[in-house]
Symmetry: C2
Subunit: 252 residues, 2 copies
DNA sequence: CCTCGGGATTTGTGATCACATTATTTTGCC
DNA sequence: GGCAAAATAATGTGATCACAAATCCCGAGG
């Protein structure tokens, strides 16, 4: 198996890294509600670690835009607006289009096979109405392409962008996802990778992102807000503890 | 005065933020040598603060790619390779081209005036052979354009990319910079902004970045390395203290 | 019933300490 | 004198504590 662009912190076993991975997982799978307040001590309590690694992990996520911090120091899951979605759409079209174009020029046979496998699994999950697996496989499909581009910095940037749009991608279900244009587009993308046609690969990737995020932008209310804030945080009076099941520390 | 995209941490007076700004300044102005080892305690000693804010600032810079951390836990200024420059070139062409295109559609009269002013100051500095001011004004010119795009996430991404290429931009002096194509290109970019011609603005910006970073990539040696490592760190035996003059804590 | 104030609580920030691991220097042997 | 091994120093990591600012809660006053 050829090695593909491996995240540089693959062997990082520090608590900070585990907390970071846990929060990232929780964010992308939608276990935090938009607008929800998330305190350092709460996370530290649930994960059973001290404040130090939590602070560093959450500060990084703030820097990446996955959390936002008010000037009056409180960390929240960002609310999404139409303008923000449109900005992210245009950025993602550029970067993920670039990655697809590079992948068309650089992908190995095995890497293309990975892409193809993910595409098949999307169809299977979708036929079963399994939205969670569907989303997971869509992610694998995209990142199989991006990994094939062999550009580590580009991959890191794209991961950061997915972290910001991720919690809102479930808004695509079930209405948008039923369109038959998705599978056809993915097939054309695979064909372009196979043929080494960078321009076509870029075009297909751009179209995919444009369609999905334009749809999400269209869900905004008259104020431009999408998926409005949950009624604040269900304030925990008791001290949080492991097993609160919001998320878990992922041990490797 | 119309509001333009203001950095979200404009009013952040925390030590962490000041350390972050100081290190960023030191990196972009080339006060750290590529490959140089930079320890937490060293920075803390020079800036006269404890490890805590230094750790958080440097961890963020590692996440942004401005420092790199070996698995055997030592933080270094990254070495640049031809492949990395070419990857950054292509990413920057996409994102800064996008920003220029957006700026052409959104720039106000005052924002265009800012761009024009920076362009004039580049010419002045260059005629004086003042490389440091030249670099500073080139940066101001570019970011005046990006700010006019009014896209905060895009601006943040571009800042991160400049942080990575910044220390190597002085390699453009004095040979590359003497080309007369730079000023003419900037004028065409200004004209495109004025005319609201997004495609032309994007083209000029892309050409500018392509020329500069392709030149830098061409400076690589036979191993693909650019500006090889300085002879390790001038190891400090005595404990570092304020006034070591490598960089200073910027107090607001 | 709503509004405003004041005290208790929560929460992020920064400093300090202990510890394990890595790096460096010194020592001892051939 | 050269080299390996032990000792010493350096360094990142995580926990804990103190503190100030922000927030929350509750009751007095209208």
């Amino acid at each position: 198996m050829p090695r593909i662009a491996t995240p540089p912190d693959a062997a990082d076993t520090s608590l900070r890294q585990q907390v970071y991975a846990s929060l990232r997982e929780a964010l992308t799978s939608g276990r935090f509600a938009p607008g929800q307040k998330v305190t350092f001590r709460y996370v530290a309590g649930v994960l059973g670690v001290s404040l130090t690694p939590v602070r560093e992990a959450m500060r990084r996520l703030v820097a990446e835009g996955a959390f936002e911090m008010n000037p009056n120091r409180s960390v929240r899951v960002p609310l999404m607006t139409r303008d923000k979605v449109l900005e992210l759409r245009d950025i993602r079209m550029e970067l993920e289009g670039l990655a697809a174009a590079k992948a068309a020029l650089a992908a190995t046979r095995n890497q293309i096979a990975e892409v193809r496998r993910a595409a098949r699994e999307i169809i299977v999950a979708r036929s079963r109405g399994d939205g969670a697996t569907d989303r997971q496989k869509v992610r694998e499909f995209h990142f199989a392409v991006y990994a094939a581009a062999g550009q580590p910095t580009l991959l890191r940037l794209i991961e950061g962008l997915w972290l910001q749009t991720g919690p809102y991608m479930n808004l695509l279900y079930p209405d948008f996802i039923s369109s038959p244009r998705g599978p056809a587009g993915r097939q054309r993308l695979i064909d372009a990778l196979q043929a080494g046609d960078a321009a076509a690969a870029r075009r297909e990737m751009e179209n995919d992102i444009r369609r999905a995020l334009s749809y999400v932008a269209g869900l905004a209310d008259e104020n431009g807000n999408i998926a409005p804030a949950v009624p604040a945080t269900a304030r925990k009076r008791r001290s949080p503890s492991a097993g609160d099941a919001i998320f878990e520390l992922r041990v490797n």
